[in-house]
């Protein structure tokens, strides 16, 4: 969370941050509620105080090593339609600051 705050402040410069957009994969291992709670605590009395945390959830997808079929998954423990559990996760582990909405303070 400190990384989010530091990166947002660095990229915003002197501008006021109104929104921070984060891409969060469903299998990133980070709970949305915890992220929101920590954001509120960590931004209090900083230049980010009052900014909106916009969390964009990225669906998780896996490609089967046995048959090549690609599909959405909800958990690490899920089998392909062919029955194989041997799958590469191709998306869903993201934890990335996408961008900021800012306005210039004159």
């Amino acid at each position: 969370m400190k990384g989010i705050v530091a990166a947002a402040l660095r990229c915003a410069g002197t501008a006021k941050v109104v929104t921070i957009r984060i891409e969060l994969g469903r299998l990133a291992g980070v709970a949305v509620e915890a992220l929101r709670f920590c954001f509120e605590v960590c931004t209090r009395d900083t230049a980010l105080d009052g900014a909106v945390l916009d969390i964009v959830e990225i669906r998780a997808r896996a490609r089967c090593r046995a048959c090549g079929h690609e599909a959405d998954i909800d958990t690490w423990c899920s089998s392909c339609q062919c029955g194989s559990f041997d799958r590469d996760v191709v998306s869903g582990q993201e934890l990335r600051i996408k961008d900021l909405e800012v306005f210039d303070v004159s």
Binding site: A7, A15, G29, R96, K98, E101, F103
Partner: protein, 252 residues
């Protein structure tokens, strides 16, 4: 009022619906809002340092294993017995992670190997910077084995690369066959699983085969060892696997 941005609009919705409902929403409240691209992975800093640690260990031919398991799963006892079994053949050193005390470091030192204790205070896992600093102090010898015993926790350590060759998940048979299903991240991240306290099996209602099958539903490539460290059962197989890792590349 929107509960997320406090903008005063009379809307009853979650912020996920916010933009869809009235985009473009003037969050600047009358001032021109512009978008600043960041595109920054929040794990990048740790992963970059972990890459440097891995390079440093590879350069010296040191095979590093990150042991992850719940408190009381038997990580330290497994290490003590592993050191005794392997100690004569290959140099071993240990980074011990705990929130507090150097009790585990004392146990490892008594087994006759180099050890540095890392106390994380309130922290629930080791990260690459802690391991990097620990290595400066530990100075593991070239062509040796390094064990990083992570803080007892089956959740957070799974998410942090510390520059290891492989993560090894340690769980005791007393934890039940459904443990891999309940804590899937670590079983997915690990290359090997050591099932400890196998000598207790006669006293338990637990299906080891089902436990292994569950773990391999998460990670079909998981190498599994069934060990009773204090009695010595299964240690030979585990130690043979470890010996094979020395000298190879961390390959990530």
């Amino acid at each position: 009022m929107c509960r997320d941005c406090g903008c005063g609009r009379a809307i009853e919705h979650s912020h996920a619906r916010h933009h869809a409902d009235h985009d473009p929403h003037p969050h600047g409240h009358g001032r021109p809002v512009r978008r600043v691209t960041v595109e920054e992975d929040l794990r990048a800093k740790n992963d970059e340092l972990a890459g440097e640690v891995r390079h440093r260990l590879d350069h010296d031919g040191i095979a590093a294993f990150n042991l992850i398991g719940a408190p009381g799963s038997g990580k330290t006892t497994l290490l003590e017995q592993t050191i005794r079994s392997l100690g004569g053949d290959v140099a071993i050193s240990v980074l011990e992670g705990d929130q507090a005390t150097d009790r585990d470091a004392q146990r490892i030192a008594a087994s006759g190997c180099r050890v540095v204790q890392i106390n994380t205070g309130a922290g629930c896992h080791l990260d690459a910077s802690m391991v990097d600093r620990g290595l400066d102090e530990l100075q593991p010898p070239p062509r040796s084995l390094l064990f990083v015993e992570n803080v007892g926790n089956l959740v957070c350590p799974a998410l942090f690369d510390v520059g290891e060759r492989a993560k090894v998940v340690v769980m005791s048979v007393t934890e039940g066959e459904d443990k891999p299903l309940k804590y899937p991240h670590v079983f997915r991240a690990a290359s090997a699983m050591v099932l400890t306290k196998a000598d207790l099996l006669p006293h338990l209602i637990v299906d080891v085969g089902e436990c292994i099958a569950n773990a391999r539903r998460i990670n079909p490539h998981l190498v599994v060892f069934l060990v009773a460290a204090l009695r010595g059962d299964g240690l030979d197989e585990w130690c043979t696997w470890l010996r094979l890792q020395v000298g190879g590349s961390h390959g990530r």
